[in-house]
């Protein structure tokens, strides 16, 4: 399948994304806006799939549609205010049903084209390395051990890189340009070698967020605290109303 047809599908998905963005901001009911947000996450992950970024698509679905959207739904439930201020047009259920019907239609088209694309990888092979499959004649290496095993067979050619940034380049240095590694292996190796400080920084940021969230949940404002103390004293009879 040529890239042009994929580009058309991506354009249609982008139009959908614009519609979903406007709906998520303009819609009156908060639950509907959260649902449109989830759909926009799904569309972005589909776009990532069409660009052969399977790992990114899965992570987007897991983190955004799985975790952050649930946060939003919790927020809507806990704040207990379903509707926001007046002045916006209401969205009817019929409009939503029509939109989801068109969405599923286009989704079916995308899935159909995506399977066609998977079966014929040779035309778009020049655009990236990740879509090269073992059918092309190259070996498909999953782990670093596989690379070292192949490298040990060709011991004379081996030159160990000092900074192990990209496993693809390392594999090319070892044995030639036929070797293809999985995207997950490359990202994992890069995170633990060249980007280790950034990785630790991200972990620290998440730790600070966890500590901040727990301390915020335990914190009660001063006014509320004094009210509670007053109530306790009134209940004990120490203070009059």
């Amino acid at each position: 399948m040529a890239l042009d047809s994929i580009q058309w599908i991506i354009n249609i998905l982008l139009i959908y994304l614009i519609v979903l963005y406007t709906l998520s901001i303009v819609v009156v009911t908060r639950v509907y806006s959260v649902i449109t947000l989830i759909f926009s996450y799904i569309i972005v992950s589909v776009i990532a799939l069409l660009y052969h970024q399977t790992f990114i698509a899965v992570v987007l679905l897991m983190v955004y549609a799985g975790a952050i959207s649930i946060f939003f739904i919790f927020m809507v439930m806990l704040l207990n205010t379903q509707r926001r201020g007046t002045g916006y047009r209401k969205l009817t259920i019929g409009g939503f049903l029509l939109f989801f019907a068109i969405f599923t239609l286009v989704g079916g088209l995308v899935v159909d084209n995506f399977y066609n694309m998977l079966t014929i990888p040779s035309e778009s092979i020049e655009y990236g390395r990740y879509n090269m499959l073992s059918e092309e004649g190259g070996l498909y290496l999953h782990t670093i051990r596989d690379i070292y095993n192949v490298a040990l067979e060709n011991y004379e050619k081996v030159t160990v890189p000092k900074k192990f940034v990209d496993i693809q380049d390392a594999a090319n240095d070892f044995v030639g340009k036929d070797f293809v590694t999985s995207q997950l292996t490359r990202i994992g190796l890069a995170l633990y070698s060249a980007y280790i400080y950034a990785f630790i920084g991200a972990g620290l940021l998440l730790l600070v967020a966890i500590v901040g969230v727990t301390s915020l949940f335990n914190y009660t404002p001063r006014l509320q605290k004094s009210r509670e103390e007053d109530n306790i004293q009134i209940l004990r009879g120490l203070k009059k109303k």
Binding site: I25, I68, F71, R129, A202, L206
Partner: protein, 111 residues
Amino acid sequence: MLFEQHYTFIEKIINTYTLFFQLSLVALVLISLFGLLIVRRDLVTVLIATELMFLNSVLILIPFCYISSGIEAEIFILFILVVAAAETAVTFAVLTNFDFSNFIQKNIKNN
């Protein structure tokens, strides 16, 4: 040789980031800015618009993952995800712990 490499890379960028893609990205950024700056009645809307801005940055980087041979864009997307998740958790805690009734009463008393 170097010039040829650069030329092919620029050609890939032009082929991947089409005019429609660029225009739609501009539209998406403008919509999320509209939610952030103009529709400021609701805190949840502002939060949703912030998430949409993060999603825009991810969307800009996804085609770059496709055309580049390195993995810098993927790493960038992962870190954007981390920041978005941390921001959402902290805002969730602030919003749920913030006593709106006190805030409203205080404002009414002042008025």
